[in-house]
Symmetry: C2
């Protein structure tokens, strides 16, 4: 192929990928080339804009570290993460809706006993979380693995702080015979996604705020069921209608109830007012995806 | 916006970019979101594929350095670089066609006298390049800045070698009163683009070779004219029909003529056979772009 012009080059590139042995990879690459070229033609992308994009993507890669994933953030603020989530989680009736994983999940969180305080001594309103894991049709799921993590009352995750000795506000539990788990933490605050890098530049240039409403993350796995990745949002948080990453679903908003000082259901005595979240999580059985809507 | 689904999320994201103050940035972002979302929907991108893409882009950014630009390479092998080149250089009659910049241009190359040998002592067939810079209508352009660079006989640029004391096979000249320049170098070889990183993984997975046909780069600037970025390809090189980056145009292919040992036009005595490239470069006057075809 010689002399490709701005119209013929797309077919030339598609031809070059024609021998891709893996059929799925071939499908994805051909579609990627078509859409990428259509984008450049639609906006008549200038050489300067192309060079800016090259530099932007390079900076986005280079700011990534063990504790920061700027490409996930970029995917999040462009709505791609929630789109991929929606495509891959066409939930049947009774299954809890999903939302973004986010960049703050950490493998290998501590595994304390049920009822533990996972706050690592961080200040804030005490929050008791009582959860129940069920199959979509309502039967309890014992021995499910439940990973939880959240921001603190200042809106920071443990990996964003340098003043902590180890993990905080994250843990892994296993559901009991009745499919239940519970733990103590602190009430999370709404927070800005990290906006001191390329994603912040994009938000700033488009006059978008970087905030996410207050939420607790849950990732729940059990044999025979699809892994559930979701949050539960607090109904009194700001930004429920303008989450920077488009992650809010009405079915995931709950009242984190205000409780007076006194004795909690697990016998713990609280000298200050505390909060209480009770929530059921419905897992989707493997192989029960809905058809494409 | 809450409860966006796989169809409504695109409008939700477009709405969020609606306040972008710069109208051009807004146009580019809205188009980018539409095409990115259409791509994900068309292929029903899986969560695993999305995660692979995040990691792939991160690795692409992290392998970039002062002497390696993997995102330019990625743009090149996807044909995006040549598409952007075509959109931005709708050349009028008499103006030399353009091609990719490539990742091996270096600012601040040496400025030797006309007739200098820029090979830095590297072995290879001696090559005399005699160039003439004209305006599109044919008038010579004196005092034009001509940057030249090329690979060596093994297909490596100076910045890819660790055994050189400084720049080689690259220089900056200024055209004389007749718009002319000339220099000695060595005959460049065809070469693979760097294929030990993410771009190599892509080429390998799609059974594409990484080679570019032999060429010399030229970047020519003069007041009142658009900067010309192009190559001249050797007509006896392999890969003219399958350049890994889609950069070959018929009008940029020349015979690098074989000459017998003896005295060259500039008086230099050659004990071995040598090669000879003579080429005219037509600059495009500022503001003379053709209409969109």
């Amino acid at each position: 192929m010689r002399d490709a012009n701005e119209h013929t080059i797309t077919e030339a590139v598609l031809d070059r990928f024609a021998d891709t042995p893996d059929p799925r990879l071939k499908t994805v690459l051909l579609s990627l080339v078509r859409h990428l070229h259509d984008f450049a033609r639609d906006v008549e992308l200038t050489t300067g804009e192309w060079a800016y994009a090259i530099d932007y993507l390079t900076r986005t890669g280079q700011i990534c570290s063990d504790t920061r994933q700027e490409f996930i953030l970029l995917s999040d603020v462009l709505g791609l993460s929630m789109l991929v989530d929606a495509i891959n989680h066409r939930q049947p009736e009774g299954a809890t809706e999903t939302t973004v994983l986010g960049p703050f999940h950490v493998e290998g969180a501590p595994q304390p006993a049920h009822g533990a305080d996972i706050s690592g001594g961080l200040p804030g309103e005490r929050l008791l979380v009582e959860g129940a894991v069920t199959a979509a049709e309502g039967a309890p799921v014992p021995d499910a693995t439940v990973e939880v993590w959240s921001a603190d009352q200042e809106g920071f995750y443990d990996v964003q702080r340098t003043d902590l000795g180890g993990p905080a506000l994250r843990a892994t539990f296993t559901t009991d015979a009745a499919g239940r788990f519970h733990f103590w933490t602190v009430m999370p605050a709404f927070y800005p996604i990290p906006d001191d890098g390329p994603v912040g530049t994009l938000l700033n240039a488009s006059e978008r705020h970087p905030f996410r409403p207050a939420h607790v993350h849950f990732m729940i796995s059990a044999p025979g069921h699809e892994q559930l990745v979701t949050h539960i949002f607090a109904d009194d948080s700001p930004y429920l209608d303008s989450d920077a990453v488009f992650g809010v679903k009405n079915s995931l908003i709950e009242t984190f109830e205000h409780r007076d000082p006194g004795t909690a259901p697990d016998g713990r005595v609280l000298p200050e007012p505390w909060r209480h979240l009770r929530r059921q999580f419905g897992l989707k059985q493997d192989g029960t995806a809905r058809a494409r809507p």
